[in-house]
């Protein structure tokens, strides 16, 4: 069931009414039934996968919890009898057993994800190698279809079990409750990737009817639909025209494609997240924010702190830090210090962790080389930026421009274009073609073609561009105004008539200018395919 389908509106309306009609203690159960129904819409068979993840994680959680209890009770009982070394050894043994359960759970669940998502990619690469070495025979593709949101819920669930292993919070002892945490429907399509300790308070409490929740939730949804239907899906036509015709659209058109795709992706992804957060808020549930005005970032590192925040923090907490401080990395660092010097030796674990994280980030986005190259290029740019910090510092100590508006604007524009360049891999879906398109920017000087009518409209009408420009200006305005506080709070202080005017204008704009229905090739949310 798509967020943009009519059936979803009906589903949501019925669910919201029922939710507030039944007693609070049953509300989370209703959400569970609704979430599983929502999931079953994408194919009832896929429920097996999410159930498998939930069951293995639930059982592992119980096991970890039991081992942790046994360990602490044993030490408590034998406090007097055991020496510090014996206690340490016992704890270590128990931790090892816990680690085994954790690893088993992760292998099963990441294994399901890997098999479903990467089998064909692996087979294609093996077949290519067989071709290169002129070996007869080809492995057949398996053609698995990815269950809805598997990349998102697998990461969310593994985050939970790692936290339980780390003793951050006790495991959830009620299976249906854990299943709801994993399958809560607004976050299934494209996140955000929630943390159990963030979500549990509002998810299970069965919030009472609060007008503000309904009003704010609907406003957020409205804004999300505006971004998705009026801007993103309209630009989808233009971006597709450019990237599907690389022979025709080169040079300056590649830059146009980068720019339009940047806006499309932002409107699409943030629009989808707005809808998800708005839907959750209608039920009084608070999901994590996933964006903090990312296109205002002044560096790539800052950009990744503000874009898809829940994925970034997942990688930071569950991959980057554990790798950086792992024993093998510490050993490597020691060896590095001896051979490469102190500075380089210290940085070695960070470099390796960064490369591993970005390789994984790349492949998380899709089973294709373009995503891997995209991820690694991000890592390279981030590492180069870090290495250049002393140079920047020197520059700033000599030239006092850091706080100048024009310099900050330059940094924002530079970061926007840098990210847009990197994101081109996501467009062309082919590494060689992407580099060739980069090449045409330098070799094909065709700026005048941009002003020669039809071709430069990329399949849209001039009227479509007026709508896009107005929509983009509105997005920019809202972004600028919501620097310090939520735009909904700003709006809430305005007179009723102004508020109604804004709501009605948005509703009419979506109804009228939304790129939906016949005549539009309205696209699924871009991030839902990851």
């Amino acid at each position: 069931m798509l967020f943009t389908s009519y059936s979803f509106f009906l589903f949501l309306a019925v669910l919201a009414i029922l939710y507030y009609l039944i007693p609070a203690k049953f509300r989370w159960m209703l959400l569970l039934i609704a979430s599983l129904s929502f999931y079953a819409f994408s194919g009832p068979g896929y429920l097996l996968f999410i159930l498998a993840t939930a069951l293995t994680t639930f059982y592992t959680g119980l096991k970890l919890d039991a081992l942790q209890r046994t360990s602490s009770e044993y030490i408590k009982q034998k406090k007097e009898e055991l020496s510090i070394e014996e206690r340490k050894a016992y704890k270590e043994r128990m931790k090892k057993r816990q680690r085994l359960w954790l690893v088993l759970c992760m292998v099963i669940n990441f294994g399901i994800l890997a098999v479903l998502k990467y089998s064909d990619f692996t087979i294609i690469n093996i077949n290519t190698l067989l071709d290169v070495f002129k070996v007869d025979g080809k492995l057949p593709l398996l053609g698995f279809v990815l269950p809805l949101g598997i990349s998102f819920y697998t990461f969310q669930t593994m985050g939970y079990i790692i936290d339980v292993y780390r003793g951050k919070y006790p495991c959830e002892r009620n299976f249906p409750r854990l299943l709801l945490f994993i399958s809560f429907f607004p976050q299934l399509v494209q996140g955000p990737i929630s943390r159990y300790d963030d979500l549990k308070e509002t998810l299970y409490s069965g919030s009472g009817f609060v007008t503000r929740n309904i009003s704010y939730g609907l406003q957020r949804m409205l804004w999300g639909y505006f971004k998705k239907l009026v801007i993103a899906d309209r630009l989808f036509v233009a971006v597709s025209t450019i990237i599907r015709n690389p022979g025709e659209y080169q040079g300056v058109f590649v830059l146009c494609g980068m720019f339009l795709y940047a806006i499309e992706l932002y409107a699409d992804f943030t629009g989808g997240i707005d809808i998800a957060l708005g839907v959750a808020q209608i039920f009084g549930i608070k999901l994590k924010e996933n964006f903090q005005r990312p296109y205002f970032s002044k560096s790539i590192t800052e950009y990744w702190r503000r874009w898809h925040i829940t994925l970034g923090t997942w990688f930071r907490d569950y991959m980057f830090y554990p790798i950086s401080v792992s024993k093998p990395m510490q050993n490597l660092s020691r060896k590095g210090r001896k051979t490469l010097g102190d500075t380089m030796g210290k940085r070695l674990p960070v470099y390796i962790a960064t490369l591993v994280v970005w390789f994984t980030t790349g492949i998380w986005h899709g089973a294709a080389w373009n995503f891997i190259v995209w991820g690694l290029l991000n890592a390279v740019v981030i590492l180069i930026s870090q290495e250049c910090i002393p140079l920047y510092n020197k520059f700033h100590s000599r030239f006092k421009v850091r706080d100048a508006f024009w310099y900050r604007l330059f940094q924002v524009v530079r970061t926007f274009w840098l990210m847009s360049f990197l994101r081109t891999f996501d467009c062309y879906m082919n590494v060689g073609l992407t580099f060739r398109m980069y090449g045409t920017i330098l070799t094909k000087w065709n700026l005048p073609e941009l002003f020669q009518g039809g071709k430069a409209l990329f399949g849209l009408s001039p009227a479509d561009y007026i709508v896009f420009a107005a929509g983009a200006a509105l997005m920019l305005f809202v972004s600028l105004r919501s620097r310090a506080e939520s735009f909904r709070d700003i709006l809430a202080r305005r007179p009723l008539i102004v508020r109604y005017a804004v709501y009605f204008a948005l509703i009419i704009a979506i109804l009228l200018f939304g790129a939906y229905g016949p005549g539009y090739d309205s696209s699924q949310f871009i991030y839902s395919r990851f």
């Binding site: 009519y6 009408s461 009227a463 479509d464 009723l496 109604y500 009605f504 509703i507 009419i508 109804l511 009228l512 200018f513 939304g514 790129a515 939906y516 229905g517 016949p518 005549g519 539009y520």
Partner: protein, 360 residues
């Protein structure tokens, strides 16, 4: 608190009203082109007192003239026809019509039997958008929808036509609240001529049997008529395109025999009513022009009058007066089309001036 509730209710009413007007604005008006789009809706404006109701595709709304039926036989009739009307659409239009009136005879043109499945969204729209919202309409929509269509967009057509915002014309504003009348009790007049140079031969088909779905709705139609004591008259109108196969004809004859219905393939009687496909069609044989329609209707009227025993109502004062107005409109449009044909060599705006003529 009370004030706030009132403001909220007022705001919602305002929004709904605004969207309703917007929806009217965005819906195609079919005034300067594709006049067929208005046929179904025009029925609601007419006095519901018809001896005969015609249902079917363009072969009824182009080939049958209710004015000719009235003037020659005193039979009142209405054509609930539409472009590529499918059997289930005919059935539901009939079901809806029976809520308003009980005719003596229902005439169904059987060409649509060849379509067992929905064909095209555009044709669905031409038939279904004009229907008033009712359970019958919803059933008609459900039966007609293509795979990528949504029921809700027939209830709220703005969801279908919203993208017309960039192609609105003066016509959309002019006919926002009221449209001109373009038909003569469902008959779409054309007086121009385009001869049929070739009489077509049908291409071989892999299977000539009409589909189960078509039969299902034809059975329903038969039952509906029987239940309401209405005589169902199956016809094949005398258009030479699309080709009407002998195998199809045989199936219809068999069906009529089995169900005790009258079926006439008028293609077998063209010599009797003197159709000349070089003079009596405006598009090479698909549709009759006025001359062809009047010839065919005259012949059909005799059958309705003699074989179905429909009474001559020309002596009914109120009815005669009403039909005289219709006839005036009919001849005024005919004259206007003749003028246009003479002036421009083609029908520049036939039907588009209908209201002006009527008012004059």
């Amino acid at each position: 608190m009370k004030k706030k509730i009132i403001i909220n209710i007022a705001a919602v009413i305002f929004l709904i009203a605004f969207i309703a007007i917007l929806q009217r604005l965005l819906m195609p008006k079919y005034m300067s082109e594709i006049h067929e789009g208005n046929l179904v809706a025009e029925y609601y404006e007419d006095v519901k007192d018809h001896d005969v109701i015609f249902i079917g595709d363009c072969e009824v709304f182009s080939n049958v003239s209710p004015i000719t039926l009235w003037e020659n036989y005193g039979i009142t009739s209405y054509i609930r026809g539409s472009a590529q009307q499918l059997v289930w659409q005919s059935y539901y239009l009939l079901e809806e019509t029976l809520k308003y009136e009980k005719p003596d005879v229902v005439v169904f043109n059987v060409l649509a039997m060849k379509y067992n499945e929905p064909q095209k969204e555009a044709y669905n729209r031409l038939t279904l958008d004009g229907m008033k919202l009712s359970a019958t309409k919803l059933k008609a929509v459900k039966a007609s929808m293509m795979e990528d269509e949504e029921l809700i967009s027939y209830i709220f057509p703005i969801l279908r036509y919203h993208s017309r915002w960039s192609s609105l014309t003066g016509e959309d504003f002019k006919y926002l609240f009221k449209r001109d009348k373009i038909s003569h009790n469902g008959y779409l007049m054309r007086i121009d001529t385009k001869p049929a140079n070739v009489i077509p031969e049908g291409r071989k088909l892999p299977d000539y049997r009409f589909g189960d779905n078509s039969y299902y709705y034809l059975d329903k139609m038969t039952k509906l008529c029987k239940d309401n004591n209405i005589r169902l008259f199956l016809i094949k109108s005398p258009s030479i395109y699309p080709y009407w196969y002998q195998e199809w004809d045989d199936q219809m004859k068999e069906y009529a025999k089995e169900n005790g219905l009258t079926y006439i393939n008028f293609l077998e009687h063209t010599d009797e009513f003197g159709i000349d496909y070089n003079k009596d069609t405006y598009d090479g044989g698909l549709h009759m022009n006025l001359s062809g329609a009047e010839k065919f209707t005259y012949y059909l009227g005799r059958i309705l009058s003699e074989e179905f025993g429909l009474a001559d109502r020309r002596s009914e004062a109120g009815t005669a007066e009403r039909w005289q107005e219709k006839a005036d409109f009919y001849y005024a449009m005919k004259a206007d089309q003749e003028r246009e044909l003479k002036e421009y060599g083609y029908l520049k705006s036939y039907g588009g001036r209908a209201q002006t003529l009527e008012e004059n």
